[in-house]
């Protein structure tokens, strides 16, 4: 058995593995929301977002760069955390998927409120009445967050069908 001197805070008991599963899902969900969904849906697909709308302040530009870098990093890190849980034990997929939905919803909420409204990094779409877009964006983010939390809760360890019961 890997002892407590094992490297990098090894998660070899069920509780630590479960925390790592949830962390992996939340990081991966937030990461794909920040990098992949944003790029493929809003930049390339709908073309609502622009590369740079030229109206941004220096602070917002720096914040945007940081969000961009962190988004890719947590996508990669989240997947390796999942691989790490998998090589130690059976993964509770329901729990992981719940955490991914929490991550997506949480990031979209942060993006919709902090980035769009407070920092003004960019808007959802240009040349339209934003209110409807903002309400839909923030509303779906909240719904995703709540759904994710419900799935997470139903799949928590010790419940029938939850993690650790397999």
């Amino acid at each position: 058995m890997a002892g407590r001197d094992a490297p990098a805070g090894v998660a070899d008991d069920a509780g630590a593995r479960d925390r790592r599963t949830v962390l992996s899902g939340v990081l991966f969900g937030a990461g794909i929301a920040a990098s992949i969904i944003d790029l493929f849906v809003f930049h390339l697909g709908l073309q609502w977002h622009h590369f740079y709308d030229l109206s941004t302040t220096q602070v917002a530009l720096a914040a945007d760069g940081l969000f961009h870098a962190v988004g890719w990093f947590v996508t990669v890190w989240g997947l390796f955390l999942l691989a790490d849980v998998r090589r130690r034990a059976e993964v509770s997929w329901a729990r992981w998927v719940g955490a991914v939905v929490v991550g997506v919803g949480g990031f979209q909420l942060l993006d919709g409120v902090l980035n769009h409204k407070i920092l003004g990094i960019h808007q959802i779409r240009y040349g339209v009445d934003l209110l409807v877009y903002d309400v839909v964006w923030i509303g779906t983010a909240v719904v995703a967050l709540v759904v994710g939390l419900v799935v997470l809760r139903r799949a928590r360890p010790g419940r029938p069908g939850g993690a650790g019961s397999a």
Partner: protein, 269 residues
Amino acid sequence: MHPHDHVPAAGPPLLTVVAVVALAVGAAAYAVGLRAARARSPWPARRTLCWYAGLACAGAATLGPLAEASRASFTAHMAGHVLLGMLAPLLLVLAAPVSLLLRALPAARARRVSAALRSPVAHVVGHPVVAALLDGGGLWLLYTTGLFHVAHGSAPVDVVVHAHVLLAGWLLTASLVGPDPHPSRASFRVRATVLVAFVAAHSVLAKWLYAHPPAGVSPADARAGAQLMYYAGDAVDVALMVLLVAGWYTASRPRDLATARVREHPGLA
């Protein structure tokens, strides 16, 4: 070096001459190392492949049609920048040249190389924070001051700028994900933080260039070049992230799993 190199004259530009010599030396040195180390355990072919692919990327950025086009087109310049400053360093680092050198040298001289790698200077220069400042700082100087314009007019400055972009990128990549022995490797946390900060700075610089074309560059060309820098840079950055976290994944392998693996496949140990 001639004092009139910056005057357009007959004969190849200084950058071409330096690049041809450096690439030939690099290609020959690795081949000599492979030959000298052939009595040792087999050297992975993918490392050799990485070395020559890395040299090819550096060559594409400094010689031939792309280098020619980058005198007039900022977009072509940016393609060269990504090849020379990001992709070539990654491939050259993955070729593990220091490991090959240590295998190729006789024991006494190999020990002197390891001692040099442990020296205080190597410790400072090999630290990811220092390497990131050298690399990122150089880029900000190049694109936000008049240096870009000066380098286009002066052959020696142009050579120095190209050499700096390659070497600083190499240093940063080696300090983050290098497979070579690194006596003072920074922790995963430090390396992850530096990489994220560097990627953020690189993407901010790309957007800044989008809005502020360097002197002599048309807005349309600057926008195309900035987007190329941003998206092609992303591809290399994500590869760096995967390599960095994969290193963590291997290092944090559970011990019982590792010993079970060794019992099954002793050759992997």
